[in-house]
Every structure is written in C-alpha cells, then in structure tokens.
Symmetry: C2
C-alpha cells in the first residue's frame, strides 16, 4: 500500500465535487449501491448517523415525543388524498406493481414521506381532547427517484431521516411545536456537527406543498451553494380536514385538529464533510466521531516497543474510564507516518503520539486534526484530554461561523446582485414579497429565496428586483 493509493488526490478548492466524493469513499463512510442513486453506509458512516439519532431522540423524548414504526408501502389511493401534496411528489415516486409474478390491484408507493399514512391512522386513534397532543416520530428512510446529479448524503434516491408528526388541540400549541423543533434542530446541528445555520421561513413558493408555512434552517457550503438542513412545517388544518383528524373538546364539540410535521436527514453528514473536510480528508467534530482519540505508538526497536506500548495502554485505559472513544493503532507492519495519514483521512479529531523521548520527558504530543495544531501534554494532565476535545468542538463551530458570516453579503442593487451571485454565498437583499420578483430572479440568476430570516432587522428598503418598498430582507443563494 502506498500513500497515493489511499489518500485524497483532489483538491477541495480546485475540484470540490471530486474531492467530496473521494472523501466519502476513501474515509469509508459510504459506498455506491448497485442501483444508481442509492448508497450504502459503512460502519463509520452509520456510527455518525447513530450519534445524531441518539442526541435527537433524547431531546424529542424530553418534549414527550415517542417513536413508532410505519410501513414503507402506501397505496396510491391514500397518497392521492391530498391532491397538491400528491402532485408535488408523483414524478419521484417508486411504484410496486407486482408481488412475485402477480400484479397488484391498487399499486403501492414506496414512502416518499408519511403524512398520508400517519394521518389516516391518527384519525382512528384520536377521539377526544384526552388523546392530544399526539406527538410521534419515525426513524426510517424516504424514497424519491433522483435521476440527475445524485451525490452521497446530499441527493440520493433513498435517504435515512426522521419524520415527526404531531397533532394538537389548538393552533397556538401547534405553532409552538414547530418552533421548538426547529430550535432542537439548530442547537443539535450547531453543537454536535459544528455547522452554523440561518433560520427563518420559506417563501410561499418554496414551502412544503401542503403546509401553511415552512420554517427552515440553511447552511452555506464552501463552494458557495446553500444547503437546506432541516424543515419544520406548520400544517394548520390542511391535512386534518381531508383525513378527518378530529377530536371532541371538553364541551363535547368536534373540532379539526392542528398539525405539524418536520424532518432532518443524513444530509447533515454531507454538510459536515463539506464544511470541515480538507485536502487530507475528513475532519470530524468530536461529538459525532466514532473514534475521538487515536493513540499512535512510535518506536524503532524492541526495547522501546515494550515501554511505548505499555504507556499507550495506560493512556487508553484512562481515556476509556472517562468514556472517551479511543483507539490504539498497534498495527506492526505500518510506519507512524502512514498511520498519521490514515487517521487524518478518517478525520479522527485528536491524535496522541507517544514515543520513547516523550516518555523520558513524561509527556505526550497532541495533534488536533482540524487545524494541525501540536501541543505537549504532561502525563499528569491526561485527564484534560476531554477539555481539549470540548475546545476542538467549540473552535470548529466558531471557525465555521466566521466563514458563514463572511459569506453573507448585503446587496441592494440588481446588477450587483447578478455579479455577486456568480461568486456564490448568501445574498441578503430587500424583497417586496411578490412571487413575480422571486420568479424573475430565479429565472435570470438561478438563485432562489433560501430563507426569510426570523432575526432580520426591522428596517425597510427597496426590493432588489422591482425597487418597490419592502419590509423585509431575505436570503438568496444557489442551492444544492
């Protein structure tokens, strides 16, 4: 094995797309499945997803949200029940038409999303106000045939996600849920994956078909394109009416319920790779890294071997006692240099080097993956490695936030807009709120409104397209 066989050969700056694919495959996160547009997760990739699941699950549970299971097949007749919803989905639906050699009457869709299935059940399960709120979440996959530009984690025909579906007695309670979930998403993606996001609403034309409104969080990738990182929808009574999700209140009066739905997917992993990775490979934030610390023993003769390996085992034990996910790379046939490259490719957040000279000085060498910073750490401070990991986590978020902030560009003039959008990034401009201007901008520049931020200042100005008076600034970008 030579270094060239396994290392990344494309540059993140010069060939972002090729670089991304190489990192995914060579860090062994995922591989292509035999059907075009589908991927497989290898253990390190799935482990990151498991971390995300664990964190979100705990936060959902605190809000009284419980998990369930829904089948992957939905009859066409049910999927057609909410017409706009169906029209939006249909071109991407996989259809099952046969079981064995027999044709199926009402053909079956592979779940593109489960609103119709969940709500047909909810209408049976909910009778009175005592049954509310009903808050359920489903960890499963969704299937949508993607023909063009498929990319691991970002655009695949089947993707791992969670879909939450809640039902409430009042509009107010449902809207609170929408916001609480978006807040959970934002905190988790920022705290665990170190990816900063902007939050706000989608415009009418970009919202989930079937929602009253869609809240979203958006991130910007190093190539200047925006990535939608999660959505939380206020469905109002749009589904409760056709699906008859009704409850009797305390006065025994029947009412249609208020609903929400929300989801995030393994796209988070794609965003993490793009945000933090470099030309040496993957860079993982400690909280989601399958291995947080790798210890590399360094020795060149048998006498040193014993001393060094004994020390690395000691350190390993001490870190395990602190619940740090640690691995000692004792592979004999490989040089320390090869090992460094290997673990850098895999993105392990912190490397601990232990050689005979270090042992003499009663210290180890720490190397942070994300910025290659080296520091000595005394044997007596091994317990501080958790602090170093916490620092890395925070520093990675801060570094990414700085880049995000720099990529938000205020633009007030349309010709400036047109040249700025070529360079990528988030363009912040006044928009009059008319769909016509939004459409024209999309037509002429390819950029759409990614998010109408919650925290926009309350100034007013001229719409970047039509120059009419506008009350709010919105964020435009080219999207993934």
């Amino acid at each position: 094995m030579s270094k060239e066989d396994v290392g990344i050969t494309a540059s993140k700056k010069d060939d972002f797309s090729e670089w991304y694919t190489q990192v995914v495959l060579k860090a062994k996160l995922a591989d292509y499945a035999p059907v075009k547009g589908f991927i497989v997760l290898r253990p390190d990739g799935y482990s990151i997803w498991e971390s995300i699941v664990k964190t979100l699950d705990a936060k959902f549970a605190k809000r009284g949200i419980r998990n369930g299971f829904l089948p992957v097949l939905i009859p066409e007749s049910l999927l057609r029940k909410e017409k706009k919803h169906f029209a939006g989905l249909n071109p991407e639906v996989f259809w099952v038409t046969h079981s064995g050699d027999n044709e199926i009457g009402d053909k079956l869709a592979l779940r593109p999303t489960s609103e119709t299935l969940a709500y047909s059940l909810y209408s049976k399960w909910i009778n009175s106000w005592r049954d509310l709120p009903l808050k359920m979440n489903f960890w499963n996959t969704a299937l949508r045939a993607e023909i063009k530009g498929t990319k691991p984690f970002l655009r695949t025909s089947e993707f791992l996600w969670q879909e939450g579906h809640t039902v409430h007695a009042t509009q107010e309670e449902a809207e609170k849920e929408v916001m609480a979930i978006l807040d959970i998403y934002k905190k988790t993606v920022e705290d665990d994956l170190a990816i900063p996001v902007l939050t706000g609403k989608k415009s009418e034309s970009e919202k989930f078909v079937g929602a009253v409104y869609t809240t979203t969080m958006e991130s910007i990738m190093p190539d200047g394109k925006a990535l939608q990182m999660g959505t939380s929808h206020f469905l109002g009574q749009n589904f409760s009416k056709p699906f008859e999700v009704k409850y009797s209140d305390k006065n025994n009066v029947e009412n249609f319920a208020w609903q929400t739905s929300w989801g995030v997917s393994w796209r988070w992993i794609g965003a993490m790779i793009m945000t933090h990775g470099d030309d040496k490979g993957l860079v993982l934030p400690p909280k989601v890294a399958p291995i947080q610390v790798v210890i590399v023993p360094i020795y060149y003769n048998e006498k040193d071997e014993q001393t060094v390996l004994q020390k690395t085992k000691e350190i390993q034990k001490s870190l395990q006692e602190q619940n740090i996910r640690v691995f000692v790379d004792e592979r004999k046939e490989l040089t320390p240099g090869y090992k460094f490259n290997d673990w850098e490719l895999k993105g392990v957040p912190l490397r601990v080097e232990v050689g005979p000279k270090d042992i003499e000085k009663q210290k180890v060498v720490l190397v942070k993956r994300y910025n290659k910073e080296k520091q000595d750490l005394s044997f007596f401070d091994i317990s501080k490695i958790q602090n170093v990991l916490d620092d890395i986590q925070k520093e990675m978020l801060a570094a990414a936030r700085k880049i995000l902030d720099e990529m938000i560009i205020d633009v007030s003039d349309y010709s400036q807009f047109k040249s700025a959008i070529e360079k990528g990034g988030f363009l912040r401009s006044f928009w009059c709120g008319k769909e016509q201007c939004e459409e024209k901008i999309k037509e002429e520049t390819g950029a759409d409104i990614r998010v109408i931020p919650f925290d926009a200042d309350d100034s007013s100005g001229k719409c970047v397209y039509c120059s009419n008076q506008s009350e709010s600034k919105v964020i435009f970008a080219h999207g993934y």
Copy 2:
C-alpha cells in the same frame, strides 16, 4: 368509557387467535396499516422493540460487530445470482417496476433479505487478511408478500428485524461466530423477554436455502404450536464463491472467505404477548416494559387527595432516581378500579397503590401483574422495588420454562405420535435422519422437525416412522 369498551373480551384458552389480536390492538402496541398484511407500531409497541435493539446492539458491539445501512432496493439480476436462494424467495418478492410514470429497465426487488447485496459489496471491500473478520449488522425491515393468515408480529409482509453478515478467514472462526450469535439470541430472549427456547440445528430440508447448515431456537406457544425465534446460519463458501468474496492470506495466496448470516425479528414481541398475556390483557417482563411501575393514587375526598398525591410524587422521585421507568396515573376523571384495569390491559409489571389508610400505616400495596400477587411494602423499603422487578423477571421465565418442559413429550411409537400431535406441543422422537421419513410425517400429520437439539442425550433408538436404528432424537411440532 365503560370497561367493556376497552377490555379484552375473548378468552385466551377458548379463542386464542381472537384473544391475541385483541391484546395487540387494545394494548395499543400495533394497528393495521392500509395495505393488507402490513402493520404499524404505536409507541408502546415500538418501545419494546427499542429495548430489544439496545440490548442486542450492546452485545453485538462487544463482539466487534458494527452497524451499517443497506438500501431497500436490490436489482433483479443481483438477486438471481445465487440461484437456489432466489428460487426460495421469488414468490414472496415485491417488485418495483416504475418510478413516476417511467418504466424501470432491470426491475427492483424490495429487500427480502440482503445476502446478495451485502456480499456484492463485501467482495469490493475485502482484499487481504487484514480486512477480516468483517462483521456487520443491519437494523432494517425485510419485505415478503404474505397472502394467507397474516398476524401482527408473527406473519406480516414487512417486518422489523436485524440481519447480521460476517466474513471470516477460516471455517472454524465462522462456525464459532454462528454459535456465539445463537447464544446471544438465546440469552437475550430468555433474560429479557422471559421466553425459554430450545436450541439446535435445522434439518436439511428446513435450513435456510443457501446455508451449509442453520442453527435455530424454537419456542412453544400456549396453543401448542412451535415458533421459530431466530436463526444463525453457517454459509460456508456458498455465497463467497458466486460473489467472489476473496482475501489474500499472509502468504499472498487468494482464498474464498467463510461466511455467516443471522437474524431475529419483531416476532419476539408476538411470542412475548402469547407466552405471558392473560384474559386481562398484556403482561410485560420488566426489562422490556415501557412503564415498569405504575403508581395509582387512591382517594375519595380533597383532604386525602393532597396527602396521597404528595406521597405518590415522593415515591415516583425515589424510583426515577433508581432509573426505574415509573408513571403516576393522576387522571382525575377515572376511578382507581378503571385505572387498575387499564394498566393491567397494558401489561405494566408492577402496580403500586397508595391510599390514605396505607399512608397511616406507612406502607404501600404492590400488585404483580403476572400473577396478581399482592404484598405490602413499608415506606422505608421503597428502594427494594428494583428487587421486586428483578424477581418478577425471573419468576416469569421460570413459569414459562415449566410450561415449556411440560410441553415436551417423548414419543416412540407412530400411532402415539399421530394422536399426540393433535394436542400440540413439542414431540421428541428418534429420527433416522432420512428426508423421506421427515416428509412422510409432515404429509401425514402436518408436523415438521423444528430442531435437532444440541443437548440430546447420546442414546440410540428406533426412528418413530420407519423403525430403523437412529442416533438422535429430534423435536417435531406444528409450526406457526
């Protein structure tokens, strides 16, 4: 709400099938999906599955098995690659033929099992002895069109399961893995679900198509029918040859690898319902119960209400601190009697009753769900409730094991066999090992060989069918 609306109206003894369905639906574990043969899990049902997942995951991890993700769609051409395997599966396969309005060229199977997909990938991932063993597990669903006699958790067209697929350098190591996994299954289903099982091998005609041999564990249900509770297959090189799962050994010689596959499903939940449930409803073993202890406050005036509710909160807090899953039923509009029935229906293992007279005597009343046993417990012994739960767990297994033992009947004569099999149970008989006798018995009595036990004594005798000399006793039964 009257008691009759919610309670179980069928008797387990007189109408087992109707009783089972009522327990599943009324205890709100599952519900029917719109497509026949498919079910949905509600939070309490899914929570039991999550318990199983958590326990098995921890045990798999200790053996170095890691989780991954495989897509649900497999191209027909790949599925056909191992011919016997395909022939065994095909009548039950769901086929995707269209995406949107477009026909798909090579039609796609919904995963009936993932051997073919996993091994086509393994052949890429494995090059040298350094890549072995490769031990992966996948938590997903499998899809097999079931037309007749579908039943929640026992026979459904989609089921939650795990499928493990390991690759080893030597036959010996692979065979050890097969047995280690079967042992994990047996311990988990006995320790956590309190369901005793017999373990052994399947006969040639009952083994997994494509395996060299199949090890199995079998349980017996109260209606006298056997239920297969999990299988662990030694695949030998049956798949590694057609799929070219090869590795170079230390001498750089290429070898075909040795493989195993193994799985258990949510069928465990069905077996648990049948084994432990009674005419009042579900009975849950403490280890998998979503709620382990329910506290019911009992009071008939406002003065008592305060005192009682304060006490129940105290007990709740103390149990939570011990990580016991506890719920206080404070619903005001319902009587204690109604609540007792409700929690009995849901199978909560232990009920704690707290009334004003109990408080005077500084004690509570405990009621075990599985045998209705009542006992007083002093306030000062609240910390012993975990011990009571541990006792329940053990007692439930012991009770079930006693029943299993009673249902194993030694039969040496074929006319006795024919009348005994009508009553159900495991019939233990000598069998000469010939497929012909096995087939004849199946034809004439409907019973098949469920398991060739590992721990059969080494006596010899006459085959129950042909009277030829036989070296081993096997277990016959009618199966689910």
